[in-house]
Symmetry: C2
Subunit: 203 residues, 2 copies
DNA sequence: GTCTAACGTGTCAGTCACTGACGACTTTGA
DNA sequence: TCAAAGTCGTCAGTGACTGACACGTTAGAC
């Protein structure tokens, strides 16, 4: 059992990370993202500004950081789809990972306010879109690999896989808007379904 | 002739703005966006840092600023489409405005390097995506107005118009990638056509 | 033509996100 | 038990940006 647990060091690190994120997000939701300084956050958790930056690379990351983990899961999910599956279908299943992640029961109460925060704060929106874009880059690479493995590779400059991917993620954003517009009354998954039903690949 | 010309003041303002943009973009392409400071730019055009910020709100804006004008034109173009036209068709025509704007003969030589700069610089990519997102917000509003005027309004939380719009702009991004991947050999308009041919609205 | 109000500019000081370096303290593992 | 490694606060510094002030220029009324 050389690797039994994450180790004490790693555990405390995660605990501190979570505590900073929790305090910061509360402040962000209360006062707004821009109006909250790193010093405010550092003060709220009783540490120095420098130490906050030892846990989060940027202020943005305090809000958007956990997204990276979800994105990893999404890529893993895509890799596990059957190679011959319709691209559009695979993409729908990839989004399912994000959906279930945002339905995590632990802090359900924060999901909607954080969502709104991201869409209402220009900086955060930009960062979120950027992350989604890089995610799409990774997805496109996987799709290209998959097509090549199936014996019908895409041309190097073929915009098709990226167009499909971008459309799917566009549906995600449309669904998020729709979900927020309905005051989170309907299911998020339902919004994604409705969005993805409006467009699709051409035969 | 009370409003003959933009006036001397306005003219010099535009000239200085253009000069700063030209110098800055040269530096950005040479050294990279992050590696170029505002002081560098100010020095290159012989003015103070403070004055540069009197012409551009942010460093990002020096690169992405003119985009706002193109976006205005795109919205105007959308307003002039026939109200009964297929949404997807209208969107294709909206993108035409951007295409012809990037084919402007004046500084054709800069279009490709700037394009690459934006896609290779995380900050600029984020800012670009953010602008495109706000553009989509405006497009969606117009589409909703149009549908309402035609007597078949969208439901408030209907993700359809946003999904279609997002898909169209996703095709734009896919086309830009494809265009850059082919070393700008093919036409940009052609790349957009190919991207938009892969997906479309469902009956 | 003159005068005044508006405008453009440089300078200075300040905020905020972020980074590197250092020294003190704590934990880990041989 | 001791040395390597990790954590932390402090300090100093950079770079994007902002507000305030004083100075010179210019536009436009008269």
């Amino acid at each position: 059992m050389s690797e039994k647990q994450p180790g004490l060091r790693e555990r405390t690190r995660r605990a501190v990370t979570a505590e900073i994120a929790a305090s910061a997000q509360r402040l962000f939701v209360e006062r707004g993202f821009e109006a909250t300084t790193i010093d405010d956050i550092a003060g709220a958790v009783g540490m120095s500004q420098r130490s906050v930056f030892r846990y989060f690379a940027t202020k943005e990351d305090i809000v958007l950081g956990k997204f990276d983990l979800v994105m990893e899961d999404m890529l893993t999910a895509l890799r596990q789809r059957p190679p011959g599956e319709e691209v559009w279908t695979s993409l729908r299943h990839v989004l399912d990972v994000l959906i279930s992640a945002s339905e995590a029961p632990d802090k359900q109460a924060l999901v909607e306010p954080i969502h709104r925060l991201v869409f209402e704060t220009p900086t955060l929106l930009a960062g979120y879109l950027q992350k989604l874009q890089y995610m799409q880059d990774a997805v496109v690479v996987l799709l290209q690999d998959r097509a090549e493995a199936a014996g019908r590779p895409y041309d190097t400059a073929d915009p098709a896989p990226r167009a499909l991917t971008a459309a799917a993620f566009g549906c995600l954003l449309a669904a998020q808007h729709s979900w927020l517009a309905s005051d989170a009354k309907s299911t998020f998954a339902d919004a994604v379904d409705r969005a993805m039903a409006t467009i699709g690949p051409r035969a």
